[in-house]
Structure formats: C-alpha cells, structure tokens
Symmetry: C2
Subunit: 648 residues, 2 copies
C-alpha cells in the first residue's frame, strides 16, 4: 500500500492511493453500496460516473446468510461484480444507531480479510458529540485497544483505524497520535455523522483539525459518512482525502437534489438549475411523472454527477492552487458553513494551516470575499514584512491605494523621489496590505486580482496592518507634494532599485539578512531583453540566483546554496538525506521521501532548500514539494526536486 502526493494546496492533497485492486486518485468519493438493493450497478458507477472505489458494509454481509456464504466462497468483488478496490465498514455505525451489534471485534476483521476486502475497518466505538469527556475517553481507549488487536489479524489487508474522541480536541489528537504508531492503511475520522446531520460544521472543523494535528500525514484521511458536495471543498482544504456516503441514494429517495450550494427538494423547483445529463434532458414535470423507482434512480444519478463534478473541481483547484477560493465561494452558500470557515481565523489553527501552505501557486490570488485576507498565505506574507523585510531607510513614501502593476502606475513619482533621496523606502497601498516597491513582482503581489473596493472588513484589516507596519519599522512618512525634482540619470536609479529588489525578495524568501549573504560584491544583475524583468543574479562572478518570471521568486543556484550553507548553521534550509541516497543526489536525482533523515522544520512546500548528507556536506540545491513533516513521514514519492548538484 502506498499513498503519494501529486499536488497540494491549503492542507489538501491530490494523491494516488494504491490498493490490491488498483490505484485511485484522491480526493475521492466512495459511494455506499447496499448489496441487497443496488440502485445503480457498480459497473455503471465505474463507467458512467468515473467512480474508482466503492464502500460496503461487512456487518450486513456477515449477518445475511446468503451474502455471507457468497462472499466467503467467491469473494466480495464477485458479490458486487466490481473489479476495482472495495472498502468495507465494520458495523460501528450500526452499533451507534441500534445501541449495539452482536459481533466479535476480531471476528469482523478476520471476516473482512477472508472475503477479500481491500480496506477493512476495525469495529471502533462511535463517540457521540454529546458525550462527557469520561465517556469519550473510554471510547477512545477501547478503540485503540481494538485497533492494536486487529492489526495482527489483518494480514495483507489494508486496515482503517478510525479517530474518535467526540468534541474533545485533546482526545482526538491523542487518538490520532496513538493510531499513527500502528500499521494503518487509512485514518477515518469517526463519530461525525451527527455533526453533519445537524449542520454543526464549526464543530466538524475543530474535530478534523484536532485529528489532523496528531496524524501521520503519509496515510489518506477518510471523513466517515460525508456525502454532501457542499462540504467537500472545506474538508479537503483541511486535509481529508476520502469521502463515503449513501446520501446520493438517500436524498434521491426523498426527492431531494444535491447541489454544490446545498439541497433542493424537487417540489420546490420550477426548473432544474443544473447542467448534468439528467437536468439537461428532463424537466421538473417529466421527473414528477416518472414512477417513484425510476425517479429515485434519475435523482441518484443527478446527485452522483454533481458530487463527481465537485470532486473534479476540487482536484483542479488543488493543481492550480486556488482551493481556498473555492472554500470561500461555498461558505457564503450556507450560514453554518460560513461559521465554520470563520473558525479558521483563530491563531492556533493559523499556525498549523500556515505550515501546510505552499510558497507559490500557479493561479493568481483572487479576492473571493471577506475571508480572503485571512488566507494563511497572506497572513504569512504580512508577518514576513515585519520579520524578513528591511526597508532601505526610515523615510517612506506611501503611495495611494492602487492595483498591480504598481510600479507602472507611479513611475514618474517614484523616479522623482528616488532622485531626491535614493534611500527612500517606497510603499504602495494595496487591497492586500503594503507592498514595498522591491517586492512588487513577487507572488502574490503581481499575481493577484482584487476589486477596487473590497469589503469593509478587508479594508479595515489592511489599514490596521499598514499602521502596524509603519510603526514597526519606525517610518517617517514623506509627502509626495514635496517631491519636485527634475528627472535625470535614470540608469543609476534603476540599478539601485534592482539591487534593492533582489535583496528584499531574498529576505522575504529565506529570512532577514540572507539577501546580503547572497549579494557579495561585485554584483551583476541580468535582465530579460523582452520583459525587462530580472532573470539572473551574479555575485563574485558566480550565478547565485534566478528569478522565475511567473511568480517573481528566486530559485537557488548551487553557488548561492554554497554561500548560504557556509554562512548559516544547521538545520537552516537543510534537507538531510540518508548516506545511501547521497550518490544519487550527487548525480542530480531527486530526493525521495524515504531517504529524508531530517529537515529544517520551517521549510514550506515549494521552498528552495539545501540538500546535505548526514555530515552536513552540501550535495545539491533543490525545491521542496512537501511540508517538513510530510518529507519525514512519507515512504514514497518525491520530497525534493533537485535542481543543481555539486560536481564530484
């Protein structure tokens, strides 16, 4: 069994999950199949809807003598007539609904193995949201005990070890930590169905984040019983990879249609507000004239088309790096979901979310409402303006609010003031906060789309941050009207600006003062003839940095890496690889997660890094693809893409 990250955004992962019956792409929806009543056949699910994996209940099969015998004799895949991976649940949810189930916890694990389930589930104890802490602790302890016993019975089957703990974050985290020490295939987050039924999405956020903070990141996380597309983007952004649900069928039986924005009852609709094959073919009247069985089937298909489209939408957003945007678009569709996203503003969550957040993204940062300014990437950026950025001087000219490209809009004013005093700090007001001139081509400043008038909360937060920034750096504000000099000798001004830009971007990326280490004189800056933008930076005649045109951030060259390695002690910027892997890195091969011994905990996805051996000898420079924790947890996949290696 392997789980590998192919792309990431927020805490969400686009992954490949291998099982005995094939590899699936995550995030994925596992439709619940009731072997006694097939509403849509598994073949149709696979061929018409692109479903790659199913889930069914081993407890129902165990209890039904016909199914039991069939499954044991011919296997689960024969019973469901499905050749792809099948996960089985254990009866824990039935035990919650009916009070108890009459089955031995180890017997049901063995049964799941014997019928050939790809991913079995232990018989965990469902911890209800309204439980006392004592009750919840007992449920967690019993679940952990059963997990330990079950692991030895699972043989080659993958085992799902659910995380319980009711609404107690410390219990959820503890349970997650304990389960992470066992041989798990998947971590379901359990006991959440009552939260989703009551639209208690804010509580659900606390539960998911508490679990995630204790979990080994190298296994997929399954949100048990989640089947409403409204919830998918937020759940994925918080790190859930798998969803299972009977909702597509249950809602259809009740004449209810799922949409990415919520649920609608067929009788409340006059037209079908959806482009799916069912809604494009049928009218409301036609659906109402169908037999109940046929209507249920049609609505179930609509529900699956919508769920699968939303899963594809999320995967696209992860690849492009705009998953938070999708989360916010969904949040305003439902007041409870809005409350849930509101919870993420909390500083304690920000800390964890910021660690998951990539340094750069393919998509522009697009304003999508009042939560945008709280996105971890923007909060980190403003934080680094205090901790990483060094202003050229305390004299600051603050230009009126505008949108990118900033420099072009104020070219004359900027040149005039810099001729009067070349050390002046130039700051531009943006809807995201202050943008120092030196950073105006760096992601996301130049790669952003904000309206002229964002909402009042955003304007207030930005205004307060600018005040804090001015106070922090002890700026004296300069009035533009005082600047009346004539323009001449622009060459020097531009060279000066270029050096300031290189140093400032390097400081924002690596930390305060590192720009200076990289820029030992003589410094030469080479620009693109076509765009006029900085491309290469040479220090002491060595190529130390290259600037990427698309995000205005630096890639580290081996000469730059050598300078940083010499001047900064471990673990700064290091990814330490196993000595076994060193020869491969020295040939320019990428670093696989399983060879990562340790690394700088401050590395973020897409950060530049130094690849060193266990004696801190520099082998190469490269780009991280995962979080620091992930690089150390995963056993498959690439952790660091090697860019340039030391010639041996």
């Amino acid at each position: 069994m392997v789980f590998e990250i192919k792309a990431r955004d927020a805490a969400g992962r686009l992954g490949k999950f291998s099982t005995p019956h094939g590899t699936i792409t995550t995030p994925a929806l596992l439709p619940v199949i009731n072997p006694n009543k097939l509403l849509i056949s598994p073949q149709e699910l696979q061929q018409q809807f692109g479903i790659e994996i199913l889930i069914t209940n081993s407890y129902i099969i165990y209890k039904d003598s016909n199914l039991h015998q069939h499954a044991l004799e011919n296997g689960l895949h024969h019973l469901l007539n499905f050749s792809g991976p099948i996960m089985t649940d254990s009866g824990a949810f039935q035990s919650y609904v009916y009070g108890s189930v009459s089955i031995d916890p180890l017997e049901i694990v063995r049964f799941q193995h014997d019928i050939g389930s790809d991913i079995g589930t232990i018989l965990d104890i469902f911890s209800k949201p309204d439980q006392t802490k004592g009750e919840a602790r007992a449920a967690v302890q019993e679940t952990i005990k059963r997990a330990k016993m079950s692991v030895s019975e699972k043989k080659e089957m993958l085992l799902a070890l659910p995380i319980q703990g009711a609404l107690y974050p410390d219990l959820r985290t503890l349970c997650a930590q304990k389960m992470s020490q066992l041989d798990a295939g998947v971590f379901p987050i359990g006991g959440v169905v009552p939260l989703m039924e009551g639209q208690r999405y804010a509580d659900l956020v606390h539960v998911i984040l508490a679990a995630k903070q204790g979990l080994d990141p190298s296994k997929p996380v399954h949100l048990f019983g989640a089947g409403h597309p409204l919830l998918f983007p937020l759940a994925v952004a918080l790190g859930c990879d798998l969803f299972d649900s009977a909702s597509y069928a249950k809602f259809a039986q009740d004449n209810r249609l799922l949409f990415s924005w919520g649920t609608e009852h067929l009788s409340n609709l006059t037209e079908l507000p959806c482009s799916c094959p069912i809604c494009s073919k049928y009218s409301v009247e036609e659906l109402l004239q169908e037999t109940p069985m046929s209507r249920t089937q049609l609505l179930a298909k609509h529900n699956l088309y919508v769920c699968q489209a939303e899963i594809r939408h999320i995967r696209t957003a992860i690849t492009r790096g705009n998953l938070w945007e999708l989360v916010e678009q969904r949040a305003i569709q439902n007041p409870y979901l809005f409350n849930a996203v509101h919870q993420l503003k909390k500083t304690s969550y920000f800390k964890w979310l910021e660690q998951q957040e990539s340094i750069t993204k393919d998509a522009a940062l697009k304003y999508s409402g009042t939560f945008t300014i709280y996105q971890p990437l923007l909060r980190r950026l403003n934080h680094r303006l205090l901790t990483h950025y060094t202003p050229p001087s305390q004299n600051a000219l603050i230009l009126p609010p505008t949108q990118s490209p900033y420099f072009k809009r104020y070219q004359n004013e900027i040149q005039a003031i810099l001729q009067k005093d070349p050390t002046t700090t130039i700051l531009m007001n943006s809807p995201m906060g202050p943008v120092p001139l030196e950073l105006d081509e760096m992601y996301p400043y130049a790669q952003s789309e904000f309206p002229e008038n964002p909402d009042g909360e955003t304007r207030l937060i930005t205004k307060k941050f600018i005040q804090k920034f001015i106070k922090h750096h002890h700026f004296n504000e300069i009035n533009l009207i005082d600047v009346l000099l004539k323009h001449n000798d622009l060459t020097n001004i531009i060279t000066l600006l270029d050096i300031r830009r290189v140093a400032a971007v390097a400081d924002m990326q690596f930390g305060k003062g590192y720009g200076k280490i990289l820029l030992q004189p003589p410094v030469e800056i080479l620009k693109s003839k076509k765009t006029g933008k900085i491309r290469r930076v040479l220090s002491k005649n060595h190529h130390v940095l290259s600037m990427r045109a698309q995000d205005g951030l630096f890639t580290l060259k081996i000469a730059g890496g050598t300078a940083l390695h010499k001047n900064c002690s471990p673990p700064f910027l290091r990814v330490v690889v196993d000595d076994e892997a060193s020869p491969f890195v020295q040939e320019g091969k990428s670093v696989f997660s399983k060879f990562v011994v340790s690394c700088d905990p401050n590395l973020r996805p897409y950060d530049e890094c130094l690849i060193v051996d266990q004696n801190d000898t520099l082998l190469a420079v490269g780009r991280c693809l995962l979080t620091a924790q992930e690089m150390q947890s995963f056993t498959v996949g690439v952790a660091v893409k090697t860019r340039e290696h030391i010639s041996v």
Copy 2:
C-alpha cells in the same frame, strides 16, 4: 405581440413573450447562428438544449446572393430549418467593427420583414464607450430618427429599437424615453460589447440602469451581445430579459470553456470541473485528442449546457425570490463583477431598485456575503423602522445579538420586564439590524438565515443603524439586570404583545398610524391552535386582517379595506380600474393590467391594495403582482389579484 410577467424578483422578470412563431420563456438566451457555418444545427439546439429562439444576422444574408435569394423565396425559417421564433440583427455591429456598412436603413428593415423575421432590428448607430457627448448625442438622434422611419416599414413584424447613448446616463435615459413612445417589440441595449470585452461591468451597470429608468417596462429588454453566463444573474436582476451571443461557439473555437464563475482554457485544466453531459463523459486528455472541429463542437455544447443551466438557475431564483443571492454568489467570482455590484449601493440606484422590490418572497433571506445588507429589501425595512414603526414607549430593553426565533430565546427576560412595565419597547439585536419584538414573525425577520458572525462591514452597518434607530426614537436604554420581578399573570402580557404586534406589522406594511385605523375597539385576535401564531384580527366584530403564517404579513380583508378607504384619501393604496372593468371586479375577478387607469406610486409588488373605480368607490381589496409603473404600462396579464369584493 405580448409580453407578460409570470414572476418577478429584484428588477428581474420571468416572462412569456409571444412572437409569430411561438411563445418563449424569458430570461432567454438566443444563440447566434451563422447561416454559412452551422456548428450545431438549429434542431439540435431546440431538442438537446431547450433553445426556444435563435438570432441571425440579416445583413450577412442580404449580402450573400445565395442566402439572399433562398431567404426571399422560401423564408428565413426554411433557410435555417427552424420552426420557432427567429430574431434578426441589422448590421449595426458590423458597421461598428468595419467602420460602415453599405445598406439603406429602411431597405434592411423591409428585407427583414420580407424574409419573415419574427423580430427585426433597425440599423441603429452603435455608440462607442469612448465617444464624446456630442458624438453620442448625434448617434442617439440618428438612431431615434431611423427608428421612427423604420416603424412604418415593419408591418406585422416585431421591431427591436436599440437604446444607445455611450456612457452618458442622461442620453441613455432620453433615448429609452423616446423609443418607448414608438411601436417597439423589444428594446435592445446597444453599444455594450466593448464594455463586456473589457470586463467594464461597472460601466455596464450604469448603462443598463440608465436605460431601464427611461423604458416602458411592458416590453422585453435585450442585452445585445451578452453571452457569458457570469453576467446573466446581474443583468437579469437589473431588468434584462434576452441575451444573444456567439460566445458559446467563439470561445469553443479558442479551446475556452464557459462556466458560471468565468472562463477556463482547456490547456489549464487537468480535470473538467463540471457536471454537463460533455464533462461527465470526456476527460481533458480525450478532448485534446479529438480533431479540432470535433473538439470545437464538444466545447460549444459544453458552453451551451452551462449557459442554459444558468438561465434555469436564474428563473428558479426569480420564482423563489432569491435572485440577489445568486448575484452576490457570482460577484465574488470576478473582481470586476464585484466592482459592478458595489455600484448598486449608490442611493440613486437604490431608489429605483427599491421600487422594483417585492414586499415578500417565497425563499428565506439568506446571507450571502458583504452585499446582503445592502439588498433593497433590507434597506427599505430599516428605513420603515424609522418612518413606519411606533415604539410602545421610550423605555427600551435591547437584548443581546441572537438569531431567529428571537422571542423564544429571551422568553423569560421579556416576560419579566413587561410585568414590571408593560409599555417597555423590546428590541432584539440581529445581524440584519434591530428587530422590535412586535415584528419578529414578519418577513424577512423570521424567514432569514444569517451566520453568527457575518463580515465586519455588515456588523458595522448594523451597529450604526441601531445607534441611529435609538437616537431617532429617543430611546432610554434599560438594563436587563434591573429586571428582577417574579413572573405572574402572563395572559395579559401576551394579549398586550399580540395587539402591539398587530399594530406594528400593519404600520410597517401600510404606514405609520394605519394600524390604529384598523384596530378600532373592540379588538379580537384569533390564533392558530396548532402554532399559537396570530391568524385573524377582528375590529368592531368585523374581520379586518389575516396574518399569513409563512411571512407574518397581513392580507387585507374587505372590512379592513373599507376602514382604510374611509380614512385615507387617494391615491393612497388605490389601484383605479376602468369603469368597463368594474363589474368584473365586483364579481371577484382579478384586475388585468390593461384596465388599470392609475395607482398609488408607492405600491410595490405583493403589496395589499384597494381596488376602486374612477369615482374612488371601493370595489374590492387585493394583492398587487407588479410594480406601480408596470401596472400602468402592461396591456396583458394580471396586475392585481382580487381577494375579496364588496357585495353589490
């Protein structure tokens, strides 16, 4: 030709538009058909996509000798092999693109008539956005001149008279007023393609609203060249009924996919984030492997599926009364669209938009972001709290922020304070503003869904309004802690609350003091045994008012109508009908628009009204279905649903 309103929300209309070749439902999209290259056949457009009406260019047909001859001999419908309505454009856009066209303005109108177009278009002068006012005025004058001449050539054909005037609101309004005096079938808003191409949606808002304020509301409005679904909800909310576009085909040729949230290039997608039949069947790779022609066709179909789903979504929203919600959901998808919606906050636009806004809606008022608090309905409501509402006394208890149902959450506190001083004004803080206890079951207070923590701008506006409201009514705030009395004799308190509720809701609906006119002693209030809510109000033993359970607003009974009629002079609350129609109204028949002579300009859709004859004799009471202006403009359809008539 008739255009009839079947449902309305914001300034948007769900209509039926009759043409010689059949009746279509509006809002509608008219795909542009190029007779020289049919990407998707008209039959397929009709059968697979539910397209009811097409548009093609008569100038292209006129200029092509084969097409010209075919169309003249066999008719336009034979040429396109389409039996439904076809609209034709005139070449004005070609004249904008190529500088001029060589055709006589009257000749092209006659040609459109002769080939059997259902809706022809005059050869208007395209006024470009960057024109000077002089140029724009000249274009408007020439367009009006041509319209006047063309009307006499149109015979039985419907004629589209475009509204021009560049970015000058006064010219747009003037042009609209002049065109409204002519025999028009449709009013296109012209010269807007450059605005849409440049995403100048804020300018587009000014143009649409300026035109709408001068237009006869009884004709459909066509937004010329609008074909991106992103724009449809806002354009409909501002009163546009028809859209035409070649975008579905043009974007497809360029491998671009339309979505309700914007445009995506196929090469930027890894998966297809959509549920339409094309996206549910094909993967990105499969589309890329198709031949260019086949791929263009598939993407054009995707684009049409998406556009048609968005049109159905909008129609559903109009029927349910949540079109503004949809507008706001789209606004955060695009910074330029966000700027455009931001413009609607302006007081001058609010005045017109408020007149279009219904008194009650089927759907709950759902928070959907920072614009919700600016919705015309909420602004009107808060305004009426100042002008219509009379507090029981200046002593006010302001209860902490909460959500509906308000009374239930503070039942004990409210009863305690009212026993101490029964005249106390009880106010509840809500995310929408202050809610007097008497009004807490009235739409939208009880029928709303707001999150616990809306955005900061909303909180600030609400806070400021509460302060204004307190100052306006000279309230002395009472502290809850001072209230320590025991509870007893609840019956009297509840009766007192009921009477206060009836008077307050009546004042909010009809105006300050009208509750008192309706509540002459003895007053009796009858409640539902099941829900405990007020159902009927009797004054002097006559049934004057009934409260609707779903929105907490009153329907007026004939006894109530008689009391209001006796005490308030015309035109207050009146809809005056032609004497010809009086006998029908006296039999309880509804009032058709064509018999409305005049009416109270303050009547809003779904307001209760008094139906009187031309001598101001009361005939009946009823419910308006249209705005005051619409009742006087339309010649078809129901204006007032008669509820109860005076027995003759």
